[in-house]
């Protein structure tokens, strides 16, 4: 029977991680994500899992990559400054194709800025924070239920594509309390072990792009490196073709599966002259604003992006192709705005309502912005 809980977002994230099969957490305390670590420190030993408080965020990212190669689904949770420190090891996880989950409960930025206040200032950090070409997956929850659901989804996607997955929450979703429903039949994706054979290639350039992953100790004797490596995993750093094939494959395995990964939700878009695009907690205000605007006779709809990365170009084009105006509402001075403009800017005027300071845009403020654009 499904169970109901009235819990905090960060606790729901920890609960989702355990439901998804996470049995190792390594992290470092940072507001406003700390309750994820605190909850897992308490709960993981009850299910045969391990919790380690590392010496810093760099070590936390390293430890979960090591844990993942040790055969355990592994996660860390942090906020903007911690993500900044983790970036080199996150890049290593992309290059070595290591499934890990990184929860970012975003706070006011840049630098230490506003530890206890909300923001969505790390969206581009999740996309481009580490050096080089790679394709991340990021999910943005807008409720406590979604923080639970998306954490499970993050583990499943990480295993399916052998890639780091970000859960881009924010202080509001992390700290508020709501009712969640936990179903009995939660789908979890187990890791696939390769078959033993003489011609086994751990990093084969297959068409599908994602290879099964052995654990250390399984007897495959594999070499894992962040250097450009051939299909055996051996360093081959001066051969352009080896690098091209490897980096193209780790990008294509995500880009060629966007239809499986990308998720958006929408409301009232069919007849809308104006469509609001948002993600994460501001969607809560956007939904209310659209209801109010409709009451005032304005033809407004909205698109909620569940998966900011990879960016859902196709879904946006399908839903917003008739809109004259598009308004992006986000808690930064314009990050996903540029992606929306890239996709929809040819057919519509794309506007930004970028709110910083640690406060969420209210429905009334959004309605006001809708009317201001409509009056132009």
């Amino acid at each position: 029977m499904a169970q109901e809980f009235f819990i905090q977002g960060n606790e729901a994230c920890a609960k989702g991680a355990i439901a998804a099969g996470c049995r190792f957490f390594a992290g470092y305390p940072i507001t406003p994500s700390t309750e994820v670590a605190e909850t897992l420190a308490r709960e993981l030993p009850k299910v045969g899992g391990s919790f380690v408080q590392m010496e810093d965020e760099i070590a936390s990212a390293g430890a979960i990559i090591g844990g993942s190669w040790g055969g355990t689904k592994s996660m860390t949770a942090t906020s903007g400054p911690g993500i900044s420190l983790m970036q080199e090891n996150i890049g290593y996880a992309f290059m070595s194709e290591t499934p890990i989950v990184i929860v970012d409960v975003q706070r006011g930025s840049p630098s230490t800025a506003q530890p206890t206040m909300t923001s969505q200032s790390d969206m581009m950090q999740a996309r481009w924070g580490s050096h080089g070409d790679y394709e991340p997956i990021a999910l943005a929850p807008s409720s406590v239920q979604e923080f639970f659901d998306f954490t499970i989804k993050a583990f499943n996607l990480a295993e399916e594509f052998r890639v780091p997955v970000f859960v881009m929450a924010d202080e509001i979703v992390g700290h508020m309390r709501e009712k969640i429903t936990v179903e009995d039949d939660i789908e979890i994706v187990p890791r696939k072990r390769p078959e033993k054979s003489d011609d086994y290639l751990p990093f084969e350039n297959t068409e599908n792009g994602t290879n099964p992953m052995p654990a250390f100790g399984d007897g495959f004797n594999i070499h894992v490196t962040g250097l450009t490596h051939d299909e055996r995993g051996y360093p081959d750093t001066n051969n352009p073709e080896t690098h091209q094939k490897l980096v193209q494959r780790i990008c294509d395995k995500i880009l060629n599966n966007k239809d499986k990964i990308c998720s958006v939700k929408s409301q009232n878009c069919e007849d809308a002259d104006m469509i609001i695009v948002s993600y994460g907690s501001p969607v809560r205000s956007v939904g209310e604003a659209v209801t109010k605007a409709r009451e005032d006779g304005l033809k407004v709809g909205y698109i909620k992006i569940d998966t900011p990365w990879p960016f859902p170009d196709e879904q946006l084009l399908e839903l917003a192709s008739n809109a004259k105006d598009v308004l992006v509402v986000e808690m930064n001075l314009g990050q996903m705005y540029y992606e929306v403009d890239r996709v929809l800017g040819k057919g519509a005027d794309v506007h930004l309502m970028g709110v910083i300071g640690g406060v969420m845009p209210t429905p009334d403020e959004i309605v006001e912005k809708i009317k201001e654009i409509g009056g132009n």
């Binding site: 049995r23 045969g48 391990s50 380690v52 979960i64 090591g66 040790g70 295993e159 490196t225 051996y234």
Partner: protein, 287 residues
């Protein structure tokens, strides 16, 4: 016709990766031999060994050995090794690192891994210089020595690594050199058998960079200087700081049993869930 004698440790190596990248006269080859001899002496199961390394010449060693090996980011090997060991405490995890990797960029991870007394065996190959990037000074370069970033002589005070790690809480810490291979083999054997954090610092020669910059032009000249400057710890303990200037103190700096980190995690799991920490749970569809 010269007789080709096969190295008896070749079966442990990834022969398809040879030849290696190490320079002529480098100490890494002797250290690989010492490690494999120690592993046999300790009666370890080579198939159960997993290696982790960072960045630098010494960190390339695991890539040539036929076992699971994780070649990670610069300085971070110990954090990856910590996660690997916690995820599967049945593995024998060995870390190869160097003075720049372990003591400069990775210094924080080094003292914290030692503090936790996590059951890892760390071979720290100390050549007093950054070899892979071309001869810059490292945190163990002696005062007054020359490197490409110390053209007028190094002004920094070097770390005493074996002592630092012992002070940070490791249950085993020792230092030997590449001219005392028998002692080194025994120390690595003891480190492998010690159920805690084991740190073996190996003072070695880098003729290509350290030697060239410091007027020690051949590997044998470097080995002779190293041998002449070696002092056993028992003797060093009775010497003054002035007498010890320029000396390499060899011997054990820590060797005492302490609580081990992953055992502590397992104990909590047993207490709270009634079972040991799960191994390879990522492959299970239901837990």
């Amino acid at each position: 016709m010269s007789q080709h004698k096969e190295n008896r440790f070749l079966p442990y190596m990834r022969e398809d990766r040879l030849p290696h990248i190490f320079c002529p006269g480098c100490g890494n080859g002797a250290i690989i031999n010492a490690f494999l001899a120690a592993m046999e002496k300790a009666e370890m199961d080579f198939d159960n060994i997993a290696m982790v390394s960072g960045i630098g010449c010494s960190s390339r060693i695991p890539g040539y050995l036929n076992c699971d090996s994780l070649h990670t980011t610069h300085g971070r090997a110990l954090s990856f090794a910590t996660g690997l060991k916690v995820a599967n405490k049945d593995l024998d995890v060995v870390v190869f690192t160097g003075d720049g990797d372990a003591a400069s960029i990775g210094g924080n991870h080094l003292i914290h891994a030692a503090r936790r007394n996590i059951n890892l065996t760390v071979i720290c190959i100390n050549n007093n210089i950054y070899g892979m990037t071309g001869g810059q000074i490292s945190p163990t370069s002696p005062k007054g020595s020359f490197g490409t970033t110390a053209p007028y002589g190094n002004r920094d005070t070097p770390f005493n690594l074996a002592e630092l790690v012992a002070a940070a809480g490791a249950s085993y810490s020792a230092r030997w050199t590449t001219v005392q291979i028998e002692n080194l083999v025994l120390a690595i054997k003891d480190g492998l058998k010690n159920p805690g954090f084991s740190f073996i610092e190996v003072a070695t020669q880098c003729p290509t960079y350290y030697g060239r910059k410091n007027k020690l032009r051949t590997p044998t000249a470097m080995a002779a200087v190293m041998k002449a400057n070696t002092v056993f710890k028992s003797a060093a303990d009775r010497m003054s700081a002035k007498e010890l200037e320029g000396k390499i103190v060899v011997g054990e700096f820590a060797n005492k049993q302490k609580d081990e980190f992953t055992q502590g995690i397992e104990n909590i799991s047993v207490e709270k869930s009634g079972k040991k920490t799960l191994i390879n749970s990522a492959y299970e569809s239901e837990l």
